[in-house]
């Protein structure tokens, strides 16, 4: 199955292990990923606040690039997914802006393609690969592994994109964990916010919020957190030291990216999935 692949900035910088594990996992799932190498940043929360037209143009350019390949677009970051979905919605609702952005892209030799399907890796796993095929591919069921799902905001809110009247209803990661043979645990942070989007300026909010969730997952018996978003991963993993200081406890809970959890079930080795790159050592007793 061929997909255009938008790797985003994180998987090429602070979460190199996400890009590396995806490169290992995708072929085993039968996914032929065509990376959009000249795609830009989607603007995170900053560009969309500062300059909406620029935000729309950057994202429309990415959709044009995927459209030129005539392929669905796979993402691996919640915020990038939402930015692309928001762009498609905004341009569908505003013909004046759509035409203006279309003209600018035209000068770059690109054509805006609103019909491009935008699929996060989590949805690709459940909807394109499917539970049946995934079960066939598992060579090492992760039985006994207790995972705590951390969805991150931008894959479950706002409602007009994702359909949850109450985001706590989300269960895709738990469904996936079940397919992979793990046990999902319930805790207070499943659908909460990691606070990433103010953390470059100050990690105070992120550490305060995420610390509570990591502690809760740990107290509820999780062996690892798993998240579909590299931004959440950065907070949950890299800031655990500060969380421990603030909570006067010793948090030491590994945090897996989604393709790493899948990769383990597909029989890949921790080294293939670059688990050693995490700030919190990943020791799950799986070789």
């Amino acid at each position: 199955m061929k997909l255009a692949y938008y790797p985003g900035c994180s998987s090429q910088s602070t979460c190199l292990e996400l890009g590396a594990s995806m490169a290992q996992v995708a072929p085993r799932l039968g996914l032929d990923l065509i990376a959009l190498e000249s795609a830009s940043c989607t603007g995170s929360r900053e560009i969309r606040s500062a300059n909406r037209d620029l935000f729309l143009a950057l994202n429309a350019r990415i959709l044009a690039q995927a459209g030129a390949l005539d392929l669905p677009l796979m993402t691996v970051c919640n915020t990038c997914t939402l930015n692309l979905l928001d762009t498609r919605k905004a341009l569908a609702e505003d013909s004046e802006t759509r035409s203006r952005i279309g003209d600018v892209l035209g000068e770059l030799g690109l054509v805006y393609r609103p019909e491009v399907e935008i699929d996060h890796f989590l949805w690709v796993l459940l909807e394109r690969v499917g539970a049946g095929r995934l079960r066939e591919l598992i060579v090492r069921p992760l039985s006994g592994l207790k995972v705590a799902a951390f969805y991150g905001c931008h894959l479950i809110r706002p409602q007009h994109h994702y359909g949850f009247a109450d985001a706590r209803e989300a269960h895709m990661i738990e469904d996936l964990a079940d397919i992979l043979g793990c046990e999902s645990i319930d805790y207070i942070g499943r659908t909460e916010c990691c606070g990433f989007h103010t953390s470059a300026e100050s990690e105070k909010v992120a550490v305060g919020l995420a610390g509570r969730y990591v502690r809760s997952a740990s107290e509820c018996g999780a062996h690892t957190l798993v998240t579909p978003c590299p931004l959440c991963h950065t907070v949950l993993d890299a800031f655990q030291g500060q969380m421990s200081e603030q909570l006067k406890t010793n948090l030491d809970l590994p945090v897996l990216h989604l393709p790493q959890l899948v990769g383990l079930a597909l029989g890949l080795k921790p080294a293939d999935l670059e688990l050693s790159r995490h700030a919190v050592a990943v020791e799950l007793g799986i070789d």
Binding site: C9, E37, C153, V205
Partner: protein, 309 residues
């Protein structure tokens, strides 16, 4: 007969030593609302229960509370078989389910949420078209019920971040997005509102009973004004724009250094750990790879530069 089990938060700070939950069993009647359950408890089981409502038809915003951890209007949501009913968070408690709206009203005074004209009133009929009011219309749907304020995670730590919360910002947006208003609302949003502390989690939007697009329709337009009026408070956003324009993508190490300056180096132990675990690679920040799309990205910046719309 079906029974609704309501576990209600009870606490009178003037009398009680600690909060407690009291469970009431209420006979279910078709189309029963949360408010009907509270009315039954008040009329039949516990006359002293404290709760507040006025209009009963989703207009006044007085009856907001939390049911099973979720903010809602008691007058507008169906009763559930099992309910834990609690007061709103992030506002002082008066008693049981009644909260003190005083601090919110003080915030509005501080934000000066009334129309401030820089030009004299043109007289009647005032030339004002629907289209000009479109940006403010969503904000004008606000009931000031404070559900969003309660749902905001940034306010969890006793509000010590400087963020005023979504509810006062919606009220500010009613005037900031009104074409007749002439006050510098962007500066107010940045300085008094601490708007750059919003983490864009959409939890406020999720609970808004009038479905105001709080993030895209309120916070972001206010941020846009704040960036223009108080650029010194928007170092993070300015750094982000500069880096993407220069490189085509974001380099997190460079972003933190540019945003915080030398303050970024106050935790050397942490930085060293991230280096040793290969979580960050400063070589990439100093010697960036050439991004294949950077020329096109710069072109988009150039084309859209004037459009801080």
């Amino acid at each position: 007969m079906d029974i609704v089990r309501a576990k209600v938060f009870r606490f009178d700070p003037e009398v009680d030593h600690a909060p407690r939950f009291e469970t009431f069993e209420v006979p279910y009647v078709p189309q029963m609302r949360v408010l009907d359950v509270l009315d039954y408890i008040h009329e039949t089981l516990a006359q002293d229960i404290g709760y507040r409502w006025f209009c009963g038809v989703q207009k006044c915003g007085c009856c907001a509370l939390r049911v099973n951890g979720r903010e809602l209007l008691a007058c507008w949501e169906p009763a559930q078989v099992d309910m834990v009913i609690e007061p709103l968070k992030h506002v002082p408690l008066v008693r049981d389910l009644v909260v003190d709206r005083g601090p919110f009203e003080d915030d509005l005074m501080r934000l000066e949420t009334w129309l401030q004209r820089s030009k004299p009133h043109p007289g009647f009929p005032e030339p004002l078209f629907h289209r000009a009011m479109v940006p403010a219309i969503e904000a004008l749907k606000c009931l000031a019920c404070l559900a969003c304020q309660s749902a905001c995670p940034v306010l969890e730590d006793d509000g010590n971040t400087g963020f005023i919360g979504p509810a006062p910002l919606v009220q500010l947006a009613q005037f900031a997005l009104d074409p007749r208003d002439g006050a510098d609302r962007g500066r107010t949003a940045a300085i008094e509102g601490g708007i750059f502390q919003c983490i864009s989690c959409y939890k406020c939007q999720e609970v808004c009973p009038t479905e105001i697009p709080l993030v895209d329709g309120i916070i972001e337009p206010l941020k846009r004004k704040a960036i223009a009026s108080a650029p010194e408070k928007a170092a993070h956003t300015r750094a982000f724009l500069d880096i993407v324009e220069e490189r085509g993508y974001i380099d997190p190490v460079q972003l933190v250094l540019k945003t915080r300056g030398l303050a970024a180096l106050t935790r050397p132990g942490w930085a060293l750990r991230l280096l040793l675990r290969r979580k960050v690679d400063p070589r990439k920040s100093v010697f960036p790879k050439r991004h294949k799309g950077v020329a096109q990205v710069r072109k988009l910046f150039e084309k859209m530069r004037g459009r801080r719309s």
